[in-house]
């Protein structure tokens, strides 16, 4: 009961420091170890996470797992240099050792003192609940079995159903030499259904899922088992009818929501501060210039309530923010962490993220989406004589230097004379970020966010993200089918 009245900071101290015999008084001496000569910034990142996963196969939950991870990461910055060390022990000895190791990168220069804590309150973007305790084990299993039952009874061609329920309860605490002291309790849950449907010698997969930063009980309340089971079966059945995808350049209409990974790949990564400081991004030096068609407005938004990519504070303790990236086609902002913001003489934007205490933070996206336009989605489709309508995607990738990006459709249809006709097999779409954004010719009024399934990988670190967009028309994109 006391947990309800505790502040995130009190809870973080109790969860992270107390078990190792430490209290809030240990933070400043800990920081001091990392502030050697020549170090101009240092931070301590304490984290503990509890991860739970339940998997159903063949109608039974045959496997479930539970993982506990935790430790402290210590970082010391000297100019553009970063020293980093971590320990999975949160003790005074570990703080001293990792701090000295991290500060070992600089050997000369003045010794700065850490700033005393200056309180900064960040508005909560989600409730600091333990999401795992929201349902009993029996209720979790019942939810998975419900998905299995619904998927199997939805169509006789469904031969395999896999469903999973995962949740993470994460507590973080950041103390930095610039005076930052911040804590966050981050719940994250997800429900997934994947089915195989077989008919006339063909086999196809369909999958659906989603979640966010809330208690597992909300998944039950929102009836995700039924929704995702039906959606996965629907997608598999569509794909059983799919014909070979076309190959070559053509107009492409992207559905609303998850196809927003277009923005994540074509625009988002190229606007991360580190790549622009190093001038390695195709968008480097283009601030204030036109990088997309008029009408295109793209933002990165950590402040959306309960979303998978949202953050009350980022992993450097900066409050999560709403950051405009492109306004009416003009480049207006980068996503920054403290290191890159300082070196580029800009302000941090709350985009510093790290996979865990054992990884260094860097500028990353949170929820990245395009604002709604004026066009009727029906009219957008009607405007295409021959093209592709893609509504669901697997994943994507970008080469931020050349600007080339790909994303792979997992549900798509031909557009013929303004009408959606045959479903086509999955195909990869390829384009050049700035060029593709210049070819956006119609923007729907139907902005949607994805259901909460995204994982973004950068330099080997995975973090949860969100995307969104309205229905969009790109006048030309290369479609990688087999029918030339």
């Amino acid at each position: 009961m006391t947990q309800l009245t505790q502040s995130p900071l009190d809870e973080a101290i109790a969860t992270l420091l107390t078990p190792g015999g430490l209290d809030a008084g240990a933070l400043d001496p800990g920081l001091d170890h990392a502030l050697g000569a020549g170090i101009d910034y240092a931070d301590l990142y304490f984290q503990r996470s509890w991860h739970e996963s339940w998997v159903l196969e063949d109608g039974e939950v045959k496997d479930a797992s539970y993982n506990i991870d935790g430790g402290v990461g210590v970082r010391a910055l000297a100019g553009e240099k970063t020293g980093f060390a971590y320990s999975n022990q949160i003790t005074a000895e570990a703080l001293a050792e990792t701090g000295r190791t991290a500060s070992g990168i600089a050997r000369s220069g003045a010794r700065l003192n850490g700033q005393p804590v200056h309180a900064a309150a960040a508005p909560l973007r989600y409730a600091g609940v333990d999401p795992l305790s929201g349902l009993t084990a029996e209720e979790k299993i019942a939810l998975l079995k419900q998905a299995d039952r619904i998927a199997r009874s939805a169509d006789p061609s469904v031969s395999q159903v896999t469903a999973s329920l995962t949740g993470v309860h994460e507590v973080v605490l950041v103390r930095a030499s610039d005076g930052t002291l911040a804590a966050d309790i981050r719940p994250l849950v997800r429900f997934n259904v994947s089915v195989i449907a077989a008919r006339n010698g063909r086999r196809e997969r369909g999958s659906a899922g989603g979640g966010g930063r809330y208690a597992m009980s909300r998944l039950r309340d929102e009836n995700v088992a039924e929704r995702f089971a039906r959606e996965a079966v629907r997608q598999a059945l569509v794909n059983l009818e799919a014909v070979d995808a076309p190959a070559g350049q053509m107009p492409v209409v992207l559905g609303p929501g998850w196809p927003g990974i277009l923005l994540h790949e074509a625009v988002g990564h190229g606007l991360e501060g580190d790549f622009n400081r190093k001038q390695s991004s195709a968008f480097a030096g283009r601030m204030g210039q036109r990088v997309a068609a008029p009408g295109v407005t793209v933002v990165d938004d950590a402040t959306l309530a309960d979303r998978r990519g949202s953050m009350t504070i980022d992993d450097e303790g900066t409050p999560g923010a709403y950051t405009p990236l492109i306004e009416d086609g003009i480049l207006v902002g980068y996503m920054q962490d403290k290191l890159n913001a300082r070196l580029m003489d800009m302000a941090p934007t709350g985009n510093a993220r790290r996979e865990s205490y054992a990884h260094m933070p860097m500028p990353r996206m949170t929820n990245t989406y395009m604002l709604a336009g004026q066009d009727d989605p029906e009219e957008i489709l009607k405007s295409v004589k021959r093209g592709l309508y893609a509504v669901s995607f697997g994943g994507g990738q970008v080469d931020i230097t050349s600007g080339k990006f790909v994303f792979s459709a997992s549900e798509a249809y031909l557009i013929e004379d303004g009408r959606i006709t045959a479903p086509v097999k999955g195909a990869t779409l390829i384009g050049n970020g700035p060029e593709a954004m210049g070819r956006v010719s119609m923007i729907g009024h139907d902005m949607e966010l994805d259901t909460g399934i995204g994982v973004c990988g950068k330099e080997g670190q995975g973090v949860p993200v969100g995307v969104g967009q309205p229905t969009l028309k790109l006048d030309e994109l290369t479609v990688g089918g087999t029918q030339s």
Partner: protein, 446 residues
Amino acid sequence: MTQAFDAAAQQALLETRVAAALEQARKLGADACEVGASVDQGTGVNVRMGEVESVELSRDQGIAVTVYVGQRKGSASSSDAGKDSIRAVVEKAIAIARHTGEDPAAGLAEAQLMATEFPDLKVHHPWPLSTDEAIELALACEGAGRAVEGITNSDGAGLSSGEGVRVYGNSHGFLAGQRGSRHSLSCMLIARDAQGMQRDYDYSSVRDPAYLSSPEAIGHSAAERTLRRLGARRPETGRLPVMFAPELASGLVGHFLNAIAGGALYREASFLCDSLGKSLFPAWFTLMEKPREVGGMASSPFDNDGVYTRDNVFVDEGRIASYMLSAYSARRLGMTTTGNAGGARNLRIDAPLSTQADLLTRMDRGVLVTELMGQGVNGVTGDYSRGAAGFWVEEGRLQYPIEEFTIAGNLEAMFANLLGVGDDTDTRGSIHTGSWLIDDMTVAGS
């Protein structure tokens, strides 16, 4: 590197902890149990534009426990392998096993299949390198690359060096450890022309630092690979032969292995279900694994079930000769494990090899692909569609770089259309192969 790491002592400590966890599980009522524990330590340095960018010291450890209560299973793991933590992990695993459903296939691999011989496979080669020496190597690598005319910017060079120990034990009484090391040096450079920027990279990755490529060779190669991409055009859409560079051909072997993996087969999530004995590749092509090869990237005398590893032939003269099975997936398919819990180890191709020039002559007109992008491989249907960059080939010779196109086909047809394998074998990973020339794929460009 600067941190002391006594692998023998670490192994002894992990063995004690694994034994303690097994004993704990027995006491708490588990009918069977298996425990894996590992500790890895390493150093990574990154330099960029002639300056140190980051120095990172890493030390990761973990313990993972799986218990069986009757035919019910529960798993739990932690990054803390201390005594109290082990007890909590075992208790949690048993608590989970009270809720999971009965699974007739659940359980350890059969006791008589446990590995009994543990030859030294020479995969542990510590590198007593100081941070300063590591920085020097990375600087030399990037410096060699940046000195090449035309290189305008850099994404940096990095050296990472690490070693570790993993121990696996189960309630059959099996308890064994394996030590290993990995060292790598990489460099990524950027060049610009009027058309825009291009980047590319090269790397060396080895178990024994004696075999690491020289920093200068890696830097030069990264520069050359970057510069040759400048001035890229887009190919026309059409059906053409495609040659996959060695580092990408190993990905095709990977797609094949995923499709014959027991987990994909019993879930019907493979385009190769029920295809044992089927002719898939040309008759001159044989693919096998050599898990006990001395010094191999993935060498181990036992798999993740404790089962002894053996040389498996997956493709014999073009036919699918064996699936890739763990004890569990084998039971699900009514078969016997092939010692592949955790995957295949040290894949080797037995086939007549051609020089790259010969393969290009056979291709005559088509594309050489040197980079692939995206995840457009559907394991259920074998449908394949990926973004690519590479070179246009005409009259058997490279003409100019190409980019922003896709290559598409179906893996089953692609394997059947394999025309030749190059002798330019890439030995950096667990899969060793040269270039692959595949006939009749769809190239989509302008």
